[in-house]
């Protein structure tokens, strides 16, 4: 999952270049491994204690919210890989959901509702990308501001009300299954596969990693930094639009505050998957593992009768243990960022 550019930072330790490269590679493949192992242990344990954990129904129901959080996490993976952060994802989801609600009220066909929601998400993302990429503003400041702006827009458009009465064609997303697997989840897997290709086999993916490793060096190397960043945030907006549609379909209603909880979840999933928060590296597998870990563990704890507040505590213990493990396994102190 690493491209040559991600070694640029390690390249500073000139004498130990090859060992540094080795360590980086090991740590990146190890962190998702540790998390997977932890989650597998947990699954065996949960399956032993609760007879319902391995039921088909449980996994069908579990993979739907997982797919929604997963889409946002994939977008967040690109954002973090290029050295940024996006705090506005929840608000963008809200804008997309409300757009779907308004278009549905005007009795537009399903395809137009979907296109409108995706376009709304993309527009919001492009707005972020414009400010961060072209005007070179700090991503945390821009998205903090746009988070408030977008949720304000969503609230104003919806007047704080919830929309209902969506056409059956849109609700198809939540009811349909293929070979017993919810289509929502299949969509997520497809997007994950596309993301892996984008990251690994396209010039753009290479630029994203280069910008995240060292933005100045990337600029001096003549890479189109602004365009790469613009693309990252627009893609994030598009994925938020998708998530918005799936959420609207699953809840058969739309509200401005719909995506609230997903922002922190997405950041945590990416970090849990082993990506350094400072950027310069990304792994689709890691992100998949990270987001799945959260939902599988939360669902398991629910089935094990664990009280809600303890569920939160235990889930965050998982995050801390995995991140600590990742850092310790990295060995080289200078890599512990």
């Amino acid at each position: 999952m690493t491209s040559p550019a991600s070694y640029e930072k390690s390249g500073k330790h000139a004498p130990k270049f090859s060992t540094a490269v080795m360590k980086l590679r090991i740590s990146e493949s190890l962190q998702p491994g540790v998390v997977t192992l932890l989650v597998l242990f947990f699954c065996i344990y949960a399956g032993y204690r609760s007879g319902d954990f391995w039921s088909v129904l449980n996994w069908q129901l579990l993979t739907q919210p997982l797919a929604e959080a997963g889409l946002v996490s994939l977008g967040m993976m690109f954002v973090i890989a290029c050295g940024g952060i996006d705090l506005s994802v929840g608000a963008i989801i809200g804008v997309a959901a409300v757009t779907a609600g308004i278009t549905a009220q005007h009795k537009l066909p399903v395809s137009e509702i979907e296109i409108a929601a995706l376009a709304a998400g993309m527009l919001c993302g492009a707005f972020n990308g414009l400010l961060i990429g072209i005007l070179r503003l700090s991503s945390i400041l821009v998205t903090l501001g746009s988070m408030i702006l977008f949720s304000g827009v969503a609230l104003a458009l919806s007047n704080g009300n919830s929309f209902a009465g969506f056409p059956d064609g849109l609700l198809w997303w939540t009811d349909a299954t293929l070979l017993g697997i919810p289509v929502e989840f299949l969509l997520f897997l497809a997007v994950a596969a596309i993301s892996a290709v984008l990251l690994r086999y396209t010039l753009w993916g290479h630029y994203v990693i280069a910008v995240g490793s060292n933005r100045v060096a990337a600029r001096y190397s003549g890479y189109p930094v602004a365009l790469a960043l613009f693309g990252v945030y627009t893609l994030q907006g598009l994925l938020c639009g998708m998530t918005g549609i799936l959420l609207v379909a699953r809840l058969a209603s739309a509200r401005a505050d719909m995506g609230q909880g997903l922002m922190l979840m997405a950041i945590a999933a990416v970090v849990l998957g082993g990506a350094p928060i400072a950027g310069g590296s990304a792994s689709v597998i890691g992100t998949l593992v990270g987001v799945a870990a959260f939902y599988v563990v939360q669902d398991g704890l629910l089935l094990l009768d664990v009280p809600p507040f303890v569920q939160h505590a235990l889930t965050s213990v998982l995050l801390l243990v995995a991140v600590a493990a990742g850092i310790l396994l990295r060995g080289n102190r200078e890599d512990r960022r």
């Binding site: 932890l38 319902d52 959420l247 809840l251 809600p308």
Partner: protein
């Protein structure tokens, strides 16, 4: 070296999980499992409902399980319920955060053959079997007006501070308050209905400006739980305690201070503990395939009213909190 780390961490993680959840196998009690979901966990109102339901469920031989989202967010509540469906509970009872958003997951539960109750706050009618309601809109609205009129001896100006102007339950109560006044207390005069948006600070400012704008104002109704304590504070600060009466809907915990220092005589709500008890009793009826009957006497709750066409069960009369009884309630 690396393997050692790996082992340490995996065993540490596993140990933590084992510690947290104990080690015995959970019984599969889905035939009697009664799951109750509040809008959110960890607030006194729903804790009181939980305690009532848990007592009654224990008495009736149901396995009681109470869980919900940690914040009032409809999509979180849907996720929790979706997770619970895998356990195939015998009865599911939900206080809906959003009538529309909760409907699909509840319909799904019904498709799996799980009887669904809503309690405290309803979903779309076709998404549930029965709605267990605390008190009828008409009874509550008329009662609050009676409480105020009694303190004003049936005459004088009064104002209403409500929550938001779009909340359908608040507007229904408001309608019956006004109607009761028009029918029974013609010498009273409503000067204003203003929104406090369920916010104590906003309600406080509204109450202050109303007191200034209408010097002859003799009474207030606070029509959302944030309004009465805010009105009481405004009256206290204006030095009008005892001269301006307050009635309305709020919880004992919010009003305790003002009731104990006599700024407020009576505040109205219902007993969430009783509502929980009734919900558990209805759940037990569902399991026995019984239909609730109008006028039935439910132990610990009293006579209930049943509307078979609307599939709605009403617990009964509102509850007044005064200096005498407020010590018994904590929510």
């Amino acid at each position: 070296m690396k393997n050692r780390h790996c082992r340490t961490f995996t065993s540490l993680g596993l140990a933590l999980l084992l510690l947290a959840t104990g080690c015995s196998r959970l019984p599969r009690n889905s035939k009697t499992l009664f799951v109750m979901v509040p809008k959110l966990v960890g607030i006194p109102y729903f804790n009181a409902a939980r305690d009532g339901a848990s007592q009654e469920a224990g008495r009736l031989g149901l396995h009681f399980f109470y869980t919900g989202p940690t914040s009032a967010d409809a999509s979180l509540q849907v996720d929790v319920i979706a997770g619970l469906l895998a356990r195939h509970p015998a009865v599911l009872a939900v206080s809906c955060d959003d009538a529309n958003a909760l409907a699909p997951v509840l319909r799904r539960a019904r498709r799996y053959g799980i009887p669904v109750l809503t309690w405290d706050a309803d979903a779309q009618p076709d998404a549930r079997d029965w709605f267990v309601s605390q008190v009828e809109d008409e009874t509550l609205g008329r009662h609050v007006m009676d409480v105020l009129a009694e303190q004003l001896a049936g005459r004088g100006q009064y104002a209403i501070i409500t929550g938001s102007l779009t909340a359908s339950n608040l507007n229904a109560w408001l309608y019956w308050m006004k109607k009761e006044q028009q029918e029974k207390y013609p010498e009273m005069e409503l000067v204003a209905v203003v929104p406090g948006n369920d916010d104590q600070q906003q309600s406080f400012v509204q109450a202050q400006s109303l007191l200034q704008a209408y010097p002859n104002l003799r009474g207030f109704i606070g029509n959302s739980s944030a309004a009465p304590p805010a009105i009481a504070r405004a009256i206290e600060q204006a030095g009008l305690s005892g001269q301006v009466a307050i009635a309305g809907l709020s919880t004992p915990n919010l009003m305790r201070h003002y009731i104990e220092n006599k700024t407020v005589k009576t505040i109205t709500l219902w007993d969430p503990g009783k509502l929980g008890r009734l919900t558990a009793a209805v759940a037990a009826m569902m399991l026995r395939h019984e239909t609730p009957r109008d006028g039935m006497d439910v132990p610990g709750v009293g006579q209930i009213r049943v509307f078979p066409e609307a599939h709605k069960i009403v617990m009964g009369s509102p509850l007044d909190f005064t200096r005498e009884n407020i010590g018994q309630y904590w929510f």
